[in-house]
């Protein structure tokens, strides 16, 4: 038993430490950028899965990132708040808006809810474009400061002027987010979400406030989107209304679906593979969208459970073949 725990800690330790070591071996601004995107996509796809856990399909992540990005930017630029406080508030505001908007719409079932969330993303973009006094319109906001340095006098002085340090930062955000998401999923709240997904009227009948909890799931998922949006604007030092539009949101959905929303690791795998792989085949850059769509279609039609369902599927196919052979013999 102790040995198993040791192996468990060791393997997860290595998995955790490994991403921190990557910049030691592979360097270059472009590579770092891709690494940052990968980590962001993992947060986004995993938090989208939390919403999915309660039986809802959300396409509001792009809108929530935009809200997060503008919130953190404006708080820093206009009010001079600490970037860290601003980042947290960005997440919270996204969560609050998700809660407010989610409430009237949560009664809509299945894809109808998804449609409304598409709409939400579009509306956020529109507002960012039109509310010129605040957002400077379609032009966007530039020269956003990078996150404030973390300084403990005499001991620590981490600045975020280099991209590599931004990568470390987002990596830490990802680890914290994943731990939180995992904890939520394996708590009673997570159990309740999964129950609602399977049968919301039965859950309601044993006392679950299904509407409220669905809004809660939506809200928590959007919190992470808000934080990620805030981070990205600080890292790239700019934000425009259409940075995270409908297509951006769709990509997050694709990471989750291709990876498989049934397991915690699914969206992580999906985001990792689908962000890294197109970069590996960069000469074919122009075919990237087709690659994306192709993989998505492949998964939709042939692997309903996504990549994480592949081992199980191969097992059943192998089992069937084996059985057939036995029957023939």
């Amino acid at each position: 038993m102790n040995k198993r725990i040791l192996i468990w800690i060791l393997s997860y330790g290595i998995l955790t430490v490994f991403p921190f070591l990557i910049p030691l071996f592979i360097t270059g601004p472009y590579v770092t950028h891709i690494l940052i995107l990968t980590v962001m996509n993992i947060i986004l796809a995993s938090s989208l899965r939390l919403i999915n856990l309660s039986g809802q399909l959300s396409l509001a992540h792009g809108g929530m990132m935009t809200i997060g990005a503008y919130t953190s930017t404006l708080l820093v630029v206009k009010l001079g708040l600490s970037s860290w406080v601003a980042l947290l508030l960005a997440g919270l505001l996204a969560a609050v808006i998700a809660g407010l908007v989610g409430f009237p719409f949560v009664r809509l079932k299945g894809i109808y809810f998804a449609i409304v969330t598409i709409f939400l993303t579009a509306m956020v973009t529109l507002m960012a474009q039109q509310w010129r006094s605040l957002t400077s319109g379609s032009y966007g906001i530039y020269n956003i400061p990078r996150p404030d340095p973390i300084v403990i006098p005499g001991i620590l002085n981490i600045t975020f002027t280099s991209s590599v340090n931004c990568y470390y930062l987002v990596l830490v955000i990802m680890l914290v987010s994943l731990i939180m998401l995992y904890a939520i999923e394996h708590s009673r709240i997570g159990l309740t979400f999964r129950g609602i997904q399977q049968s919301d009227s039965l859950a309601e009948s044993v006392g679950v406030n299904t509407a409220g909890l669905k809004v809660l799931a939506f809200s928590i998922g959007c919190f992470f989107a808000g934080i990620t949006g805030g981070f990205y604007s600080q890292y790239i030092m700019a934000i425009a209304p259409d940075t995270f539009g409908f297509l951006f949101t769709v990509y997050i959905l694709i990471y989750m679906t291709v990876g498989g929303s049934g397991k915690f690791i699914g969206p992580i795998l999906g985001a990792f593979i689908l962000t890294i792989l197109p970069e590996v085949m960069r000469p074919l850059k122009q075919f990237q969208p087709f690659f994306f769509a192709g993989v998505l279609m492949l998964v939709i039609f042939l692997m309903p459970e996504g990549i994480v369902g592949l081992p199980g599927r191969l097992k059943t196919i192998a089992g069937r073949l084996f059985k057939e052979q036995q029957e023939r013999a």
Partner: protein, 254 residues
């Protein structure tokens, strides 16, 4: 305990339930019977808050609960089962019951996320209670099975067990025997008997008239959404109108 007064529900132009009065005292087992389409399930949906009545009131323990939501009513002790097999198919049998303990004992959000001492104690308690319920309904041997793969009769029993886990004062059972074979009907009847002895108040929808007559002290017969008879099983058995509603004509099977 429960009082239904002038309950009416229209769907479009058609009245599914009209002007229904029923009252149930504490500890009583009342049967709600009637042919298919008589409006029995609609009554359930109205009492448990899944539907809003067009007219009329539902009073529970002296309080008007007519417009309350199902989850609120579950908290007050009104719990129902569903006619179509209704379980959480992806959970194990045990987890179905653990889930159904949602309301009691309360564990706060932070307690569960942070795994505090008290939450662990409460969770152990829930687990213990869940096993007790499984023993009561006889599902303990399949506690670890994924609910979706159970045989039909077991699924129906699990549906009742889920309702019990919510600790009802008033239990509404919607055709608990449908699709069960004779043996399963027997065990389920024994189960309901035991629940009655424990003092649970039960409102039972049943198509199976013999089962309803064996279990209930009082029977209310619905046809076309209206109450056509009410009384002891003996009265109901003799009632001309009931026989006619049920069988089309009295003389065929006398």
């Amino acid at each position: 305990m429960l009082k239904i007064e002038g309950l009416t529900k229209h769907f479009g132009g058609l009245a599914a339930v009209s002007d229904l009065d029923v009252s149930i005292g504490p500890g009583e087992t009342v049967g709600l019977i009637g042919p298919n389409g008589a409006g029995k399930t609609t009554v359930f949906n109205l009492v448990t808050g899944f539907l809003r009545p067009t007219k009329g009131r539902v009073v529970f323990e002296g309080k008007d609960i007519t417009t309350k939501k199902p989850h609120y009513l579950a908290g007050k002790g009104i719990v129902r089962t569903f006619q179509a097999t209704n379980i959480f198919p992806d959970f194990t049998v045990l987890k179905n019951i653990v889930f159904a303990h949602y309301l009691r004992p309360r564990i706060s959000f932070w307690e569960t996320v942070c795994h505090t001492q008290s939450s662990r104690r409460k969770e152990a308690e829930i687990l213990q209670r869940s096993h007790k319920i499984l023993e009561l309904v006889g599902l303990e041997p399949v506690a670890g099975t994924t609910a979706g793969t159970l045989a039909h009769g077991y699924k129906r029993l699990l549906g009742i067990a889920i309702a019990l886990a919510a600790e009802p004062k008033l239990l509404l059972l919607d055709e608990p025997f449908s699709g069960m074979n004779a043996e399963e009907v027997g065990t389920t009847m024994q189960l309901i008997d035991r629940l009655e002895q424990r003092g649970l108040t039960i409102l039972l929808i049943e198509h199976n008239m013999r089962a309803a007559m064996n279990l209930c002290q009082r029977i209310v017969v619905l046809n076309f959404g209206k109450k056509i008879a009410e009384g002891s099983p003996e009265d109901i058995r003799e009632n001309k109108e009931v026989i006619q509603a049920y069988l089309g004509a009295g003389e065929v099977i006398a």
